[in-house]
């Protein structure tokens, strides 16, 4: 199986005036095709910084980042935007859907920026909504949906461009435990179909659904342990 993400000795330093914050101090790891990885660690340990960098929203201060074997370092803003558009799917803690916009239109958005014709866009968006179990809500506005439903729309949006990897930064942080399980069930289902997922979480219960745990502390990785028998997310609807 190919390496989707490979970072070597990555550092990230924020300078604010004369203050230096070393958010990442030499991080190296590899994520292979089809893995479901949880990134854990205390608050301020550098998880989001790392995710932003992996998601090509930010560039490392030093170190090398290969995405599907392509060196991302030194790319222009435009090229990074293109990579975010067709190789990466984001899921945020706060859902980040566009207000006053329907579920389908939200899901179509990455395809709009990929310059896809409207008819094909619509078809792909409906298919993605179907995968997260929201086919019936395609024409609902984002503010008419519950938190869990909004996050499922966000996952559909992350999926729709068939990215190399889905990056989720605390996707269940704003959800209750039942909805959390629903979201994890969707992630596990997608992962079963070969989609690579990288997810930041604080909760060991959530991490338990993944196949590998990366633990951050003070900008470095202190543990990288496989989880050979992840918990199976069972939603109430599916329970007997």
């Amino acid at each position: 199986m190919g390496e989707v993400v490979k970072i070597t000795d990555v550092t990230k330093v924020y300078t604010m005036g004369d203050q230096r914050v070393e958010a990442l101090r030499g991080v190296s790891f590899t994520v292979r095709q089809g893995e479901f990885v949880a990134i854990m660690g205390a608050s301020g340990s550098g998880k989001s910084t790392c995710m932003n960098m992996l998601g090509c929203l930010d560039v490392p201060t030093s170190g090398e980042y290969l995405l599907e074997g392509v060196n991302v370092g030194g790319l222009s803003r435009n090229e990074l935007a293109e990579i975010r558009n067709n190789k990466i799917g984001f899921v945020f803690q706060g859902f980040n859907l566009l207000p006053r916009t329907t579920a389908r239109e939200n899901v179509e958005l990455p395809l709009v920026y990929a310059r896809m014709p409207a008819a094909a866009r619509r078809e792909r968006a409906l298919a993605a909504l179907e995968r997260v179990g929201l086919a019936g809500r395609a024409d609902h506005y984002s503010n008419q949906l519950s938190g869990g439903q909004q996050q499922r729309v966000a996952i559909a949006r992350a999926l729709v461009n068939e990215p190399a990897i889905i990056m989720a930064d605390e996707p269940t942080g704003n959800l209750d435990s039942r909805t959390t399980v629903e979201i994890m069930a969707i992630f596990q289902e997608l992962n079963r179909h070969g989609i690579t997922i990288l997810m930041v979480t604080h909760e060991p219960d959530v991490a338990a659904f993944t196949g590998r745990h990366l633990v951050f502390r003070d900008g470095t990785i202190i543990a990288d342990t496989p989880n050979p028998s992840p918990a199976v997310a069972v939603t109430h609807e599916e329970a007997p």
Partner: protein
């Protein structure tokens, strides 16, 4: 193309969300464009009116008036004393090489009677050259001839206003009218001429042979004198030269020297009128400029609201960037929104401007001229204002850092 269409859809949606704000923002542009359209229409109407009047007077004209403009601190006023004679006119005609035609006149007002109709009007004694100089054709009948002048016949030609008032629709030719109780035969009817630059009705006039006027109508103690003389130069190029020749000849004939002040005034009529045409053009440019200022103010309003919009939608911009919008996509989105605001405002403003101009011409009897040119320019200008004032906010949006934009609350 698809992206432009997308930007347009996004912009329309954004404007729909804030309808009231969009309308208020557009108001500046609406007022600006309406003002420009109306002002330009009014200005163009005025200058067309003036240039029409100027061509109605005739071209390459000099006006010679008796009396001096100033005489030793005491102003006599041009036309004050009868110092010009018919012989002066004939001398100018024969001796000034740059002069094409001379039309001496005697002028007075008189009561006209035809049957039970009567009418008070201007009666002018003139020579056949009058109609040539004034470039004034006849509708029917014939001009006053030289033999009419020499024989002091009681023939006359009448203007349209006089004809209407005395004869209504009937043919005036051959009818006998009484001017100051003296019977005259109408031999010609003048074409419609309209208003003079001074606003008088040029059609309210009767022309009679010069001699007839001098001897029978306005008989004075100086029977050979004439009032004003209209002189037409051979061309616009020699107008100045003709002016000098006429002045020199009259100086010589009137023995004007160091000890004797000039008793006549030569005025370049075309020049005076050209100046008034010029000033009306300057006026319309000025009006347009003042109106443009409100357009600039409107543009600043657009810029202001677009900056607010960018700040309000920082998070949205972050989301769009995170899922792959390039800087130019964001730039185009906000630029489209600004241009949409200004062009919609521009179109509304154009409508109001046209209506306003028509209202002015209706209510104030002031001519207006709405050119498609002005409308096209105003439309392009309003779009230009959108691009110009929308660019800075749009660029600000496009240059946002995606992470910071996403974190914005």
């Amino acid at each position: 193309m698809t992206t432009l269409w997308q930007s347009l859809l996004i912009a329309l949606r954004a404007l729909r969300v804030n309808k009231m704000r969009a309308l208020l923002t557009m108001l500046g542009i609406i007022i600006g464009i309406a003002a420009v359209i109306a002002m330009v229409a009014i200005g163009a109407g005025a200058s067309k009116m003036i240039s029409d009047q100027i061509s109605s007077i005739g071209s390459n004209l000099l006006l010679v008036l008796p009396g001096s403009t100033t005489s030793g601190g005491l102003r006599t006023g041009a036309g004050g004393t009868p110092t010009l004679t018919y012989d002066d006119a004939r001398a100018i005609q024969t001796e000034c090489p740059s002069v094409e035609n001379v039309a001496p006149t005697v002028r007075g007002s008189a009561q006209i009677v035809y049957g039970n109709q009567n009418w008070s009007t201007i009666v002018m004694g003139c020579t056949p050259e009058m109609l040539v100089v004034r470039d004034w054709p006849l509708t029917t009948g014939r001009n006053i001839s030289q033999s009419d002048v020499d024989g002091a016949t009681k023939n006359c030609i009448i203007g349209q206003t006089v004809a209407e008032n005395l004869f209504g629709d009937a043919d005036p030719i051959g009818k006998i009218i009484r001017i100051k109780k003296i019977p005259f035969t109408v031999i010609g009817l003048l074409d419609h001429k309209g208003q003079s630059p001074q606003g008088t009705d040029q059609d309210d006039v009767i022309f009679v042979p010069l001699r007839t006027a001098q001897r029978k109508l306005f008989g004075s103690q100086f029977p050979n004198t004439v009032g004003a003389m209209m002189i037409q130069a051979k061309s616009a190029d020699v107008l100045k030269k003709a002016e000098e020749e006429v002045a020199a000849l009259l100086d010589q004939r009137h023995r004007i020297g160091p000890s004797r002040e000039r008793d006549f005034t030569v005025r370049n009529l075309s020049e005076i009128l050209a100046v008034s045409e010029q000033s009306s053009k300057v006026m319309s440019i000025l009006l347009g400029a003042v109106a443009s200022i409100s357009l600039v103010v409107g543009g600043i309003g657009i810029m202001n609201i677009m900056l607010v919009s960018v700040t309000e939608r920082t998070r949205e911009i972050g989301i769009r960037m995170a899922i792959g919008a390039k800087q130019r996509d964001i730039l185009l989105q906000f630029l489209t929104e600004a241009v949409l605001l200004t062009t919609v405002g521009g179109i509304i403003g154009m409508g109001l401007g046209v209506v306003g101009a028509m209202a002015v011409s209706k209510i104030m009897q002031w001519p207006t001229l709405i050119s498609t040119e002005a409308i096209v320019i105003a439309f392009l200008f309003s779009a230009g204002v959108g691009v110009f004032f929308g660019f800075y906010p749009a660029r600000k949006a496009a240059n946002l850092n995606p992470i910071e934009a996403l974190r914005y609350e």
